[in-house]
């Protein structure tokens, strides 16, 4: 068993879960305390000691199923045990399965929420469809089997004899689909005798937040962290010791504690200066997919900072501070910006050079070393003059300038992207299309090590 566990941990490590020796020792210690025969306890004990985050837990669940199923299979092959599906369902004894009966049984199991039974039925369903007929793509097969069984969420058509059937809960259906998927995956593993290539979690991670409010909430969280860090780090802290004023009154007061000896000097508290932030956000068609995300970042920034001015630009620049200040609802803001942002009247091609020129003439006098400029854009100029020297002037006047690019670093400077020309003048340029990136940006701004991706 020890060897099995070690092998399991080895696989977990392969999937990027950090399993240290101490975790392993804990796992063994935990296992000596629980009942091994209970699958639930066994798994939970392992999970509590090995998987130390939600993400790890997800990987753990997937691997746990796969690993222990496979080792069981291997044992079975070794000992010449063949699988036979006996008595899994009342309808399952014959060679051919009656589709409608199977479908009924599944409905019942779903209604009862019986997990084990659903699993058995899922295996039956797969067997009924014949393993060879599968398309080989798990997702496709799952849907095909579900459709053939006539299972859909929501209200159900009445039975043939006219009696009502209870509606199927979407969650329960997903539960059944999950079983199907798992069984199909197992099947695939068995047939090909290899683990499927590393799962597409990374792909999911890449997906842009598609504007649901919870993503919005995540952005808000990241930004509120950013607020604290911008306020307490950087310029405001420089020269803190210098020019501190002794507060005589408070020092005397404090000295009473120590018998009138002013042991401890009290200083006048320094009021932290409010950071001034200017955000420029590209809303052209080339960044359409990211602009919702950017707007939500803007929205969150407005929530946190009083002194914030925001601009959107395509060909020209347009200030939208007011829109954000007067409207709380994100959806309305997005709509108002697209309708009256003042950028709708142009060709739809970004002209970064012109944007800098306009920004400089309009705002430059207000920029000072305390101000932070954040640009959200892809730096694709559509072949127009980038005016990097004007950008340099902006960068010089502002205390700090950051660039958040919605494209992966790989694509920077390909085609009409002139990121390199601008990047030189930035205090930092980051790829940013998920909240994770945003957090990363916040961390870097705060001077911490970037979080590993």
């Amino acid at each position: 068993m020890a060897a099995k566990l070690l092998g399991f941990c080895e696989e977990l490590r392969g999937e990027g879960v950090a399993v240290g020796t101490s975790e392993l020792l804990d796992a063994f210690a935990a296992l000596s305390e629980v009942d091994w025969t209970s699958r639930e306890d066994f798994r939970e004990a392992l999970a509590a000691t090995i998987a130390k985050s939600q993400d790890d837990r997800r990987v753990f669940e997937l691997l746990f199923e796969r690993y222990f199923f496979r080792s069981a299979e291997a044992e079975a092959v070794q000992h010449g045990v063949t699988e036979h599906q006996e008595g899994a369902t009342p309808a399952g004894e014959g060679e051919r399965f009656d589709m409608s009966e199977l479908s009924e049984a599944i409905r019942e199991a779903m209604e009862a929420g019986d997990d084990d039974r659903m699993r058995d039925l899922a295996r039956l369903a797969i067997a009924a469809f014949g393993r060879a007929e599968g398309s080989g793509v798990v997702g496709v097969d799952v849907q095909r089997i579900r459709r053939t069984l006539g299972l859909t969420a929501g209200q159900q058509p009445p039975n043939e004899d006219g009696s009502e059937r209870p509606p199927i809960d979407r969650e329960q259906l997903t539960g059944f689909e999950r079983h199907l998927r798992r069984e199909l995956e197992r099947d695939l593993i068995e047939r090909t005798e290899t683990l499927p290539p590393s799962r597409p979690l990374a792909e999911l991670d890449r997906a842009l937040p598609t504007s649901p409010t919870q993503d919005l909430a995540a952005v808000h969280r990241a930004v509120s962290q950013m607020k604290r860090r911008l306020a307490t780090l950087g310029h405001e802290q420089r020269g803190r010791k210098k020019g501190q004023m002794v507060d005589v009154r408070r020092t005397m007061r404090a000295s009473l504690e120590t018998g009138g000896v002013p042991l401890r000097l009290r200083y006048r508290p320094k009021r932290p200066r409010r950071p001034e932030i200017y955000v420029l956000c590209d809303v052209s068609t080339s960044v359409t997919s990211a602009s919702v995300f950017f707007l939500s970042v803007l929205h969150a920034l407005h929530d946190s900072f009083r002194k914030l001015r925001s601009f959107v630009f395509i060909e020209r620049i347009s200030e939208v501070t007011e829109v954000f200040e007067h409207e709380r609802d994100f959806a309305t803001i997005a709509q108002r910006i697209s309708s009256e942002g003042g950028v709708a009247d142009v060709s739809g091609y970004t002209d970064y050079g012109r944007v800098w020129l306009e920004f400089l003439t309009e705002i430059s006098e207000e920029l000072d070393p305390r101000s932070t400029v954040i640009v959200l854009g892809d730096a694709r100029t559509n072949g127009r003059e980038p005016h990097a020297e004007v950008f340099a002037q902006v960068a010089e006047k502002a205390g700090r300038l950051f660039w958040l690019n919605p494209e992966p670093k790989l694509y920077w400077n390909y085609g009409d992207s002139v990121m390199a020309a601008y990047e030189r003048h930035c205090d930092g340029a980051f790829e940013c299309w998920t909240t994770k990136h945003l957090e990363n940006f916040v961390n870097v701004v705060a001077g911490a090590a970037p979080t590993p991706e």
């Binding site: 305390e33 629980v34 306890d41 939600q54 409010t213 919870q214």
Partner: protein, 294 residues
């Protein structure tokens, strides 16, 4: 409950009003068996802090609580020298005592102010130590905790090492607002608490609002789940379900119809945009079946 099985732990927790699910009971059991701290994560209001309190009630141990916040430091979490007392000692014994004596004396346990962590370690009776919302502190503080969590000891430069005489049950909670360090996680058992299943939530609600009729409780939990399935900024927590159940009792409601729902909705939804969304989606749904029935 100090000995026994997972089932017994679960029962003991239920006995003090905390309905734990399988993983929670198992981890609580392991925490006592292995003397390891437990890190509990999960959305706000699923009963993370409550778990620690229940553990303390079930084991009959005292609960020592350290609420974390940004800027929490050693002096407030572990110990502090009682500066005033030290000064008094110096002034009082200045004439006769040798300086060496005084020096040794003022850095003795008598002059130490115990803060929660120290209390938990030094307590002669075993305690339950709750370190609440660890994610609110900074990484430095986490690092400071490591010695305590792995060896149950605290090193005070002037005094030396203070080891725990009894093993505390340590529960750390986190709202997942920040990734905790690997070093901290390695020392803990991990438990993710999530919103409970329908049946379990119903039991919880009925436990805390025993006068609520079963049908109403079921309806309530169903509505709560409906609300949770919407895309909200802040989905209602278990604590809010319980509050809502009590509110319904006070209102003397017999069924959750559209009217009662709109009146008491603010108990479970606490963002303006969320309220609009919930009123629009759930309120309408509640109206429909009633019309169909009548």
């Amino acid at each position: 409950m100090d000995n026994g099985s997972v089932a017994e732990v679960k029962e003991a927790l239920a006995g003090v009003g905390y309905l734990a699910d399988e993983p929670a009971a198992l981890v609580s059991f392991l925490a006592q068996k292995l003397d390891k701290p437990v890190l509990v994560e999960g959305p706000a209001g699923v009963g993370k802090t409550e778990l620690a309190k229940a553990l303390s009630r079930a084991t009959g141990r005292e609960l020592v609580r350290l609420q974390c916040y940004e800027g929490l430091d050693e002096a407030k979490a572990m110990y502090e020298w009682n500066y005033r007392k030290q000064l008094l000692r110096i002034q009082a014994g200045g004439s006769q005592g040798e300086w060496e004596d005084v020096q040794d004396d003022i850095f003795s346990a008598d002059f130490l102010l115990e803060r929660p962590l120290m209390q938990a370690i030094a307590s002669p009776e075993p305690v339950v130590l709750l370190i609440d919302e660890i994610d609110k502190t900074d990484q430095e503080f986490e690092a400071m905790l490591l010695e305590l969590l792995s060896d149950f000891q605290i090193t005070i430069p002037e005094l030396g090492r203070i080891e725990a005489t009894t093993m505390p049950i340590v529960v750390l909670t986190s709202n997942d607002s920040r990734e905790l360090t690997e070093a901290l996680k390695r020392r803990c058992l991990y438990l993710w608490l999530d919103y409970p299943e329908l049946e379990r939530e119903m039991e919880i609600v009925r436990l805390h609002a025993p006068d609520l009729p079963e049908t109403l409780a079921r309806r309530l939990v169903e509505v709560i789940r409906m609300v949770r399935s919407l895309d909200l900024k802040k989905p209602p927590s278990i604590a809010e379900s319980i509050d809502w159940a009590r509110t319904l009792l006070l209102m003397g409601a017999e069924d959750i119809d559209q009217e009662t729902f709109t009146q008491s909705m603010s108990i479970i939804v606490k963002h303006r945009t969320d309220i609009d969304l919930v009123a629009e989606r759930v309120g309408v749904k509640l109206a429909d079946p009633l019309r169909a029935e009548s």
